[in-house]
Symmetry: C2
């Protein structure tokens, strides 16, 4: 009787395996797009420690973390906004907030989560705690490239109308002060906010060139640059428009994937003019700086998506070509750059390599893995 | 009987109040120097949630975090190296490893903790898990300004011999490959590693000027600069030599406290030449960039240590002067810069202010608080 009571009590009281007391600074989530699940990983152990299922359509899914690095907000293609607890490995809440969403951001105080939508367009802003709708901001357009701006703000570009909207929620979360910039260019398809939150770079699909918006100016000031950037070689089809999140700012120079070309472009961040090109093994998709900014790592569109190339920032030469396997979709560095994790989708595994020797340190089985997101993103602007 | 057994069991099994399941990304530690204790704070709650006592002499103490943001390694002036658990709020381990230590660093894989010592000098390297001695590297000198360099390395300067030592533990932790640079200058008193891990800046006490070491070159290359930097106004005593950790790199420009002058110096990071000065309300101690690098916040040596000044990076003008109270020793920004925490030592409290409106958001009682350390430092190089 005593023992039965004690056994029962232990079941009730004792933490489940998933609920051990632990820090959350070395955790991460890997998107398993076809399974609609997230693999929970431990960087220190180089291992998967759990899985969270039932997140719907995760193709092109992205996510952001709460400031305490315990919760993630997952933005699904199906319009689902799901809050997950990486300690208990459970879905905390889920709302289907739109017909077709493409990304989101969390405010710098962690209190608001904003989602940009294709269908019905505009931006919806939710309470990060409850997922209750706080503000609904129709913009008469699909929206792309939403990012958190310091000071309780968000910035987003509009596909149909070629505008940039700056939403300031700092005084009144439910009723943001809106600053609208028009004439940004035809059909923004993606955008990037630099890590300091100063420069918002908008990629254009409807015309060549890009637009940089300086958010430190009042009102923000837009500048067109790289007037020839875009698809300009009719004999080379563009297999995949590069994400602007694949741009990198290293040592005052942007490294960016050339659209439809087998090249990396180097652009001076101060003058916004092209200063060099590096020939690559294929059409680049992501160009990601190692955290020390000494190297840029590049992955590729098919048929070269089995490769990764490493480019030295000082010499702008390719220093190594790796072949992790078919379908290298994403690269994520440990925050201080000691190692890099690579999704190898078609081989259902994640590779872990030393970021200097390039030696293979470990592998983790995963179901068609795509995006890898470590919790240190909680502390960075524009991710 | 049953109930007594159950009650006993609950005491044994149930987590203590301090051991709730929670994320660690929004936690921090505040040094209470005279009490020899650490206040555990929660950024999200803007509150103290516990205290860890018994750490010995914490004057000039600093600390670093494990990659999982659960443990801190505290470097005390008395040579004590203490590992604390911020979740259970307990001392995990403590060794008195030297007679007089002045700082430490943790390797980029989180496996090694290095301590630089005045007495007996040199550097000792410990296993981060167990605090067992891994390597003892005498250098024939007191050492200062130790920092973690990407790739399993540490860098440190030697006070007596004017050298910089680069220790590479990546292949053999117990037997580092040593690169020694001589002729750095007379009596380095402190040093700073830039956030990308590229440039190590050494301040000199025995002569004027500073030395910048470019760690991306092989071998590392040293350059002397600012030949007039140092105490040069005999009528103005230097109340406190500014910490080089109080330097800031914003937008390609260093902002640094002028020694013995009421000025902030602006130095071009590429050419290492002075480009401007800003007049201040006192002798600056720390010049800290808000995380978006738009502003530099400055505190002061006595008798002006009741003030904080805010300087705009674009115009280099003082835009605000705050008077939090006597003994403002340290400023720490939330990682994405929404708010700033200020130690007001002589008033036994920590102030929390909005980093844009400068509005007071909260206060926390603390015993003679000095350094404030948020856990996001775990993810940054050179802190």
């Amino acid at each position: 009787m005593i023992f039965r009571a004690i056994a029962l009590l232990m079941l009730l009281i004792a933490p489940a395996g998933a609920e051990e007391l632990r820090g959350t600074g070395d955790l991460g989530l890997i998107v398993e797009r076809e399974a609609g699940s997230l693999l929970v990983v431990d960087r220190s152990e180089r291992a998967a420690i759990g899985r969270i299922e039932g997140l719907g359509d995760l193709s092109h899914a992205s996510l952001v973390y709460s400031p305490d690095e315990r919760f993630a907000y997952v933005f699904g293609r199906d319009g689902g906004l799901t809050k997950v607890d990486i300690l208990t490995r459970a879905i905390v809440n889920r709302v289907v907030q739109a017909g077709n969403s493409i990304g989101g951001a969390i405010s710098d105080d962690g209190r608001l989560v904003a989602v940009s939508n294709y269908e019905p367009g505009g931006v919806k802003v939710f309470d990060a705690e409850t997922l209750e709708l706080v503000a609904d901001i129709p913009m008469g357009s699909k929206t792309v490239g939403i990012a958190d701006v310091p000071g309780g703000r968000f910035v987003v570009a509009t596909w149909d109308t070629g505008e940039v909207w700056l939403l300031d929620h700092s005084a009144e979360p439910a009723d943001p002060v809106i600053t609208k910039l028009t004439g940004i260019g035809a059909n923004p398809y993606d955008a990037l906010l630099t890590g300091d939150g100063r420069t918002y770079i908008v990629g254009l699909f409807g015309e060549k060139g890009l637009t940089a918006v300086d958010l430190w100016q009042d009102p923000p000031r837009a500048t067109r640059f790289l007037p020839d950037y875009g698809k300009d070689q009719p004999d080379l089809p563009v297999y995949k428009m590069p994400h602007l999140q694949g741009w990198t700012l290293a040592d005052g120079i942007y490294a960016l994937p050339a659209v439809g070309l087998h090249q990396l472009l180097w652009v001076d961040a101060a003058t916004l003019s092209e200063i060099a090109r590096t020939d690559l093994a294929g059409q680049p998709v992501f160009a990601v700086a190692r955290p020390d900014k000494r190297e840029v790592w590049v992955n590729f569109a098919p048929p070269d998506n089995d490769k990764v190339q490493v480019v030295d920032v000082l010499t702008r030469q390719v220093t190594d070509t790796l072949t992790p396997g078919k379908g290298v979709l994403h690269m994520e560095f440990a925050p201080r750059g000691r190692e890099v994790w690579l999704s190898v989708r078609d081989e259902n595994r994640v590779e872990i390599r030393d970021a200097r020797s390039h030696e293979l340190l470990g592998e983790i089985p995963a179901q068609a893995p795509s995006g890898i997101f470590f919790t240190d993103r909680a502390h960075r602007t524009g991710l």
